[in-house]
């Protein structure tokens, strides 16, 4: 810092000095990890979503009033966001043209001989299908209505799995059951289930 005899910065130098500053406390350098949501779904997926079997549909067989048709898929999900995640299941009812197989709105046992399409996310014995969630992060769990063994429901837009806070990768198995009555109109019954993973707010 200089002081001069003129006001326009010219002329002889009067004084020359400097300003010294001292940092009293240490400077903390922080790196912020951006929140991320990891999700994958297919008939079979790897635990950490590094691969899937790339199969996104399943032919369940021929409908019969005495048998329950079954299928299963898997999804893995995790997030480091402090608010956690939710996974919802969305889709229309199973239908062939205007003929529809409705889904129970409450968890219900599989009842062969009735029109019924439902899902759950736990291991079942009637029929023997599905599996319990896999992975060490126990705070990621199936929603209450979809975690009762041998009981199935499907309401489009329902939360089927969630974590209330940080939860690293956990794999869920989704079981599908399909029953039909003897009066069901003949046809190819189809639906597409869209699993949507989102963060919470």
């Amino acid at each position: 810092m200089k002081s001069l005899s003129s006001i326009d910065g010219t002329g002889p130098l009067i004084d020359f000095g400097s300003v010294r500053g001292q940092v009293e406390t240490g400077i903390m350098i922080q790196a912020q990890v951006p929140p991320m949501l990891v999700f994958c779904a297919a008939q079979q997926v790897d635990d950490n979503c590094t691969g899937t079997d790339e199969t996104y549909y399943r032919d369940m067989g021929t409908l019969s009033p005495t048998d329950t048709l079954t299928a299963q898929s898997q999804m893995a999900v995790g997030t480091n966001a402090s608010q956690g995640f939710v996974v919802t299941a969305n889709g229309p009812p199973m239908a062939a043209g205007t003929s529809i197989i409705n889904s129970p709105r409450l968890p219900t046992e599989s009842q062969p001989g009735t029109n019924q399409f439902g899902i759950n996310l736990v291991e079942n014995t009637v029929p023997a299908i599905g599996g319990n969630p896999e992975g060490t992060w126990a705070n990621a769990i199936p929603a209450a209505d979809y975690s009762i063994p041998n009981k199935y429901k499907f309401v489009s837009g329902d939360v089927v799995a969630y974590s209330p806070n940080v939860s690293l990768m956990r794999k869920f198995t989704v079981s599908y059951i399909l029953n039909s009555s003897k009066d069901l109109r003949a046809g190819v019954y189809t639906t597409t289930v869209t699993l949507i993973a989102s963060g919470r707010f």
């Binding site: 691969g51 996104y56 989102s198 707010f201």
Partner: protein
């Protein structure tokens, strides 16, 4: 003529052999459904200005490309928790807080196996736009299921929040406060006045009557019957939000336990509830909360509540102690009575007649 005929046959043979040798076209190639996205984005944008940002999307599948279609939808809330209610139907009218008209993203994106890509995001707020909070969601759809009885689609969602600064309407109404069971996920039936297990969570519910999302701050004090206090300063450790019109339950731990967690090669901080260490008895709970956007007055809401913590062992011990006290008290009373007034004599029939 014969020459032309042989030429056509030769061309057909070449076409047939080429179509036999070549693999299926990439147009029908199966897409990956393994993605990593940002779950939430926050921006502050003044009216008449815009933001250019990027969305980082990773294809975690090491073998298949990730073919995504992107679209912007509105969302509201489900219940009292932090679950977004996605309004997937394209014909749904825009919400009053919608960003759909201002938020632009590409319609499709293809990401090679194991790669990460930056995708442009643009938000332009028109001049003269009113202040407040606006939010919508970006849906990334992949893994189209075609064929069979059941098709499967996998989608991810990024929630996008924009605050437009200025004079906003802020009003939080305190509705509930007390010990809470986390498994209730924000529902009001998660509040328990009598607890047989030591509560580790205190919750409070606020109704947002304003036009801006709110994240309250402040503190909660627990006081036991001996006057000992525990103060909770981390009222909103997850930075949770009360959306416009939502009655939102916020949860906090009586004792927080910080943890380091690793995901995708990075480490981040997480908090879980530690054992609260509460003693049996009654606890009064008082909350003093503050909220307010930049440029607006900071507002305060307070509420007092309470709860009992009575574990089964404490109830059992209390019953045993009370019964013992009653039994020995009665025996002592009888002893003293006999000492001062003599033993009780049963009256005979003839004595009673007299």
């Amino acid at each position: 003529m014969k020459h032309v005929k042989s030429l056509v046959l030769a061309a057909f043979a070449v076409l047939l052999s080429v179509s036999y040798i070549l693999p299926a076209t990439s147009a029908s190639a199966v897409s990956s459904s393994a993605l990593s996205i940002a779950p939430k984005k926050n921006y502050v944008i003044e009216p008449g200005k815009s933001v250019q940002d990027t969305l980082t999307i990773s294809n975690l599948d090491q073998a298949a490309p990730l073919n995504l279609s992107l679209r912007v939808i509105d969302f509201s809330f489900t219940g009292n928790g932090g679950t977004p209610k996605l309004l997937m139907d394209a014909s749904t009218p825009q919400t009053t807080w919608s960003l759909r008209s201002y938020l632009k993203v590409p319609q499709t994106v293809t990401i090679e196996p194991g790669k990460t890509q930056q995708v442009d995001l643009n938000i332009a707020i028109p001049k003269g736009h009113g202040a407040g909070s606006y939010y919508s969601a970006i849906v990334y759809s992949s893994g189209s299921g075609q064929g069979g009885n059941i098709g499967l689609n996998a989608s991810g969602v990024t929630l996008v929040f924009v605050n437009i600064p200025g004079k906003v309407k802020e009003n939080l109404e305190f509705t509930h406060l007390g010990a809470y069971d986390r498994s209730a996920q924000g529902d009001l039936d998660g509040y328990h006045y009598f607890n047989t297990q030591a509560p580790d969570t205190i919750a409070y519910t606020l109704k947002n009557n304003g036009n801006v999302v709110e994240a309250p701050a402040g503190n909660i004090t627990l006081r036991d019957i001996f006057g000992r206090t525990t103060t909770i300063n981390e009222l909103n450790p997850s930075d949770s939000l009360a959306l416009i019109g939502q009655e939102r339950t916020f949860m906090t731990c009586i004792k927080l336990k910080p943890e380091d967690v690793k995901l995708g090669g990075t480490t981040t901080k997480s908090t879980t509830c530690d054992t609260s260490g509460l003693w049996p008895g009654y606890y009064s709970v008082s909350a003093d909360l503050f909220y307010g956007q930049n440029g607006n007055l900071t507002q305060e809401v307070t509420k007092v509540g309470g709860f009992w913590y009575l574990p089964w062992w404490f109830i059992a011990v209390s019953i045993v102690v009370l019964c013992s006290a009653g039994f020995y008290g009665y025996r002592t009373y009888n002893k003293l009575r006999n000492k001062f007034y003599g033993p009780r004599v049963a009256k005979t029939k003839s004595a009673r007649r007299k």
